[in-house]
Subunit: 379 residues, 2 copies
Amino acid sequence: MKFFNRFLLAPGPTPLPEEVRLEAVKDIYHHKHPKAKKVFQKVTEDLKWLIGTKHNVYQLASSGTGAMEAAMQNLVNPGDKVIVINAGNFGGRWSKLAKAFGANLVEIKKEWGDMASAEELEGVLKQNPDTVAVFCQLSETSTGTCCDAEGFAKVVSKTNAILVVDAVSGLGVVPLKMDEWGVDCVAAGSQKGLMLPPGLGLIAMNDKAWKLVEANKQNKFYFDLRLFQKKLEKWDTPWTPPIGIIMQADKAMELVKEEGLENLWARSTKLADGLRAAIKALGLELFSKYPGDAVTTVKVPEGFVTKQITGPFRDKYNITIAGGQGDYEEKMFRFGTMGCMDMYTELAGVAALEMVLKDLGWKFTPGAGVAAFMAEMMK
Amino acid sequence: MKFFNRFLLAPGPTPLPEEVRLEAVKDIYHHKHPKAKKVFQKVTEDLKWLIGTKHNVYQLASSGTGAMEAAMQNLVNPGDKVIVINAGNFGGRWSKLAKAFGANLVEIKKEWGDMASAEELEGVLKQNPDTVAVFCQLSETSTGTCCDAEGFAKVVSKTNAILVVDAVSGLGVVPLKMDEWGVDCVAAGSQKGLMLPPGLGLIAMNDKAWKLVEANKQNKFYFDLRLFQKKLEKWDTPWTPPIGIIMQADKAMELVKEEGLENLWARSTKLADGLRAAIKALGLELFSKYPGDAVTTVKVPEGFVTKQITGPFRDKYNITIAGGQGDYEEKMFRFGTMGCMDMYTELAGVAALEMVLKDLGWKFTPGAGVAAFMAEMMK
């Protein structure tokens, strides 16, 4: 049967709302045009609100990884001691960045699907009082586990170290309150909760972090945040910004403000609850020990590999979900509940999962997944 | 909870596929531009294939009703006897047109939800041997009932009369084989099975019908098909055609050809089967005695009125379905299974129906509708 709807249910890039797509069809503005500069200013203010900070947010022409690099490159000097909470692929990326920029790396390494606690971090910080920065993921996209960023911030703020949170797959999806929690630096990207195409990297810093930027000695140019700060004072950027995406961000932020952050976070929870109920009703198992509300990870049943699921999902049923990463590439699959994915998109994902499982000969009551999902929606 | 997907599940206008929407964003062509003329020719040929005729198809700048008027105005002289099979709002529209153009009207009037049989038509034709034309609906949009157009054609072709089929809500949804069945004239519009915006009217005629056109004495100008025929010989139209929609029609027809007519018809049946199963699982009743596969009509339960269902459907759950028409305005609601509505859109419709019914206090097992729909899909 032909499918006209092509849904994107991966944990990023995510689909774009109609209003955001329409913006991309308009003629592009030069980034120095007064209208473009006005939108740049408005989007900067909106992003500060979204991240929960009164400090500046810098907009980079980069992916989320570019924003992560900007954090590491601007905050950490060669030889500085850093703690990375590594509980998945993106924790691993912080470690790689730390090594690439010559840091003295202390890893809190956890099994994928597990997560370090604030107490554990506190212990490691006590053993390493010379730590300059702690790096973590708000939502570890590879496992679907959210960290206790608020608890981490409480612990780190008692030390001289700063807390850097990779919020790429969590910003605009699950709660993040940078200033209130005492997070010192947030790095994020456009292609997940922000409902935008990839290409806009974000980085926010408080004064404690900014002091490290000013004292930083790394060789750098493109991501030198001092240059961004100087230009931001005139609502400008040192290099060409991705102005098309920024114009779209203006529309996306209007939608976020209209919905309200509490409603938005509650939506992620509700949709993830629905997915989790459906997964269980179909006799499958969640991967994460502490399932977060941005990414739902599912174990591939014994005797199967991931691509037997994600392949027909995409090619036969027109829905893209994600497989596993690293050692779990063929052992799990992942659904996003972020951005403009709504009840209907997620329900379609459950429907496709039923059809794929049936094709594979998996035993379950037809309709059990969608029924469990809907029962959860109507609770 | 916020809905980003805004689905259109009414029995027309229907949603547009991505490829068709993108075409509308392109710069418009002048209709005499060689590329526009080439597309006009290609679309004409494609429509002939779709309708199942080797005869010409005329493209009008009109809605479906315009195409119906063109049929009546070009085929029927004042005083001519015509038989209208009137089993709903659009049967009623044929009757109104017949009266407006001074025809001698014989109605085969049926209760809404019922339909005349070929035998019944044969009897009326025998009583009225001077009948010039018979008018029917391939799919009566107001009740969801499909007629036996093939059987009607068999009966009418034995007489001097012609059979005119309003295929507005059936073309590209349920089987129609104009030449093979012996249908003499087909009138249709763009906004249903063709997956296009409203504004393109279609009319096809065989030689038996064309003889009536040539002998016709009605006053007319805009819909004078002799002018259209003359221009069509040079792949042109007498007045400005809706070239934007025609360029989109080229894309839509590519999708139809790619899917194949048999697959497309089977899809409508499958989706309508799913809807019917869901309706029953939720304890509701179908309206039509002979439910067709283009429109599924549901009785509003005792004690409720239609707008209590269609209102929240649209305003709370972001899906537009249709209410009833005429005397049944507040007694039924209607889902389309046409055009690019696919399994995911219809499933969303069932999900919204469950939520609306729950809000109204209707008793059912949460998830029963979506489960029944999915069980039908996986049969």
